[in-house]
Symmetry: C2
Subunit: 451 residues, 2 copies
Amino acid sequence: MTLHTEWLRRALLATALTMAGPALAADDGKVANFLLDNGMEVVVIPDHRAPIVTHMVWYKIGSADEPAGKSGIAHFFEHLMFKATTNHAAGEFDRAISDIGGSNNAFTSYDYTAFHETVTPSALELMMSFEADRMRNLILTDEVIKTERDVILEERRSRIDSNPEAVLDEEVDATLWQNQPYRIPVIGWMQEMEQLNRTDAVAFYDKYYRPNNAVLIVAGDVDPDIVKTLAERTYGKVARGPDLPPRIRPVEPEQNTRRTVTLTDARVSVPSFSTQWVVPSYHTAKPGEAEALDLLGEILGGGTRSRLYQQLVVKQGIASGTGAFFQGTMLDATNFTVYGAPRGDAKLSDVEAAVDAEIARIVKDGVTADELEKAKARYIRALIFARDKQDEMANLYGAELATGGNVRDVEEWPDRIRKVTADEIKAVAARYLLLDRSTTGYLLPQQQAGN
Amino acid sequence: MTLHTEWLRRALLATALTMAGPALAADDGKVANFLLDNGMEVVVIPDHRAPIVTHMVWYKIGSADEPAGKSGIAHFFEHLMFKATTNHAAGEFDRAISDIGGSNNAFTSYDYTAFHETVTPSALELMMSFEADRMRNLILTDEVIKTERDVILEERRSRIDSNPEAVLDEEVDATLWQNQPYRIPVIGWMQEMEQLNRTDAVAFYDKYYRPNNAVLIVAGDVDPDIVKTLAERTYGKVARGPDLPPRIRPVEPEQNTRRTVTLTDARVSVPSFSTQWVVPSYHTAKPGEAEALDLLGEILGGGTRSRLYQQLVVKQGIASGTGAFFQGTMLDATNFTVYGAPRGDAKLSDVEAAVDAEIARIVKDGVTADELEKAKARYIRALIFARDKQDEMANLYGAELATGGNVRDVEEWPDRIRKVTADEIKAVAARYLLLDRSTTGYLLPQQQAGN
């Protein structure tokens, strides 16, 4: 039961998205995609290199879908789903997995909640059976609610409240997003988590934990026809729920200001900053813009070959770390981020100015044909490594389908990246990365108070 | 149909609250307070100095009560309520008022929407009859919605979008408030206002425009028993609506950061800043804290006798304007604000540092017995003038009753102010006015970009 904190999520998405390439459908066969009669979508990704299978269920419900004042309830279910059902005692599912040497976990994000197991193919039907059971048969007593609520409250205290960086990130997010619900932390606001109760939980479960709001992803040493038979035998028995309304959420108004959020804390040793902009996601962008933002992130700050790293870390030697990323796989508008921290005697303001200068250089002069080709090539290389990671393949399809995309979007993605031109990258930098309309978070040691 | 912008609201409340004193119940008789059978609350404030009467209906519905994604709908009703009903054509009510030489208006805020008329006492029943009619009998056609929606969109363009100060205020509010709905502008976000439709309007009207969600305030040359008879004859005929749930809204989490929001605009000639803190309101505060905040605002920055004015404008001569205020009459947590703008060659940063120094001085040394007595006395003096303003008396009762208070709260208010000690003022300054947990807005001329 892992909460996907923003950091973790970014790491996952950065990996997932950079692995896109020509052979996303594994060599072993075409990706299958179909619906069960009850509306549950299924994706099967054959991968016969090893006798393992990754089984995931993605619910199209995340923190950004929560009712007002009920923040944290989506993540709460990441916990509650491991409790007793009418058919199985709490812990029975976990034990069944560890008995066969498998592994499992779950995570929650703004747009989805997912549960996954990696096991031998012979155990797939058992996994499906357990997962289909807990989709509808959880026993949500007051006692269960109280116990798990204490767990998530403690999780918040240890992961957020005792961590200056996490505290800052929360308030930066809520400053960047002034209307769109990504401003609300996935784990929830403490005072609202404390009030979550059985009535809230039952209503949420009955509304969202339904086959017609779920996507099943099976990747591994399996045959799509057999997966279909097994899925019909297990998930197929779960009754379809009421149709859900389209996921139309409050939209972010245009930003007209430069915003800063500063946390000064005695526990911080090295100062750092990160600047964010609201930009379109794959789901909201005009054709080509999201792809250009991805390559902009790669060229500006994706790893050690990027402009930021080469200029600030290698050449000037003023930064201990710096980079940029674009968080593209989101249902609504998303963020583009740059960050940096000083090294040695360098000041934070020097690092920030140098990052700003690199952005200004792209806005003014664009990127070269050579670095664009190399950036595109890095996607292909990343893919070669990523193909060794079955769970990342599953994650990529699951995240895409849970944020408004489809299997074709995943498969066509490499070609869409290949089509991006240098002019398009310059254009998105000029259009979106405006300092007068940015949001910067500063994490400062105590002695730097007053910055 | 005036939108109470934040500025207007602040001015109103500053006036309303400073007019509190021993004789709030006018000399002419005791304030009467009763319920009609359908749940409508009535307050009658006799005031026989002149043959006029102020008639107000306050609905306990404001922008902070709006459904997610429907911002602006509360203020939309401030407009829609002037359209045709099943009994009267559009404009008929207005004409009836101007025919008898009366005046009328309406305003919307975070916690309420109010409609008022000032007329001769003989016209009171006619006013009640019109007002009771439009409480339930509006004809909300698609055509009416479209026409008035164009009006509010134009109102937003002219009042907010073409005014740098208003644009900044909006984004400062949404940065100060990260969860509580006061972050949403009363007029609404443009992209949501554009989508408001007949279905939204009918649902909103049917839910909130009901006698059991309204307060009638009648101040003037009237007898409470006669007002009661007239109210029963008019409003009393309107059927009670379904009970509304308690107005429990998302609560603001603790602020851990210092936040800034900067708007640089060529239309700005003189730079200015304002710093805000989240503080308790009269409705949420522990006993004594809101009263202490009110006197803190008065001593620190309430007018020309305040510390800020005397120090920055009179003594140092660095500010063209500076002050402080506390916006106490709110249903949920509210804000305490200080502001300033430089004069002559002084820099904005000098003014800000001088304001900070005055706050630090109160946090460290408190206030003197003499200035505390004088601040309290200013309330009494303000009252003497305010008693000439019948509509302000009505506003004071209406705002209090629409934000969780009652008639006794208004009447006991002067005594509660008198009890505040210097230690309590020092304590609230020390507890709430922390720069590391503040939100500052900067309005800068173009040439100061980068400030």
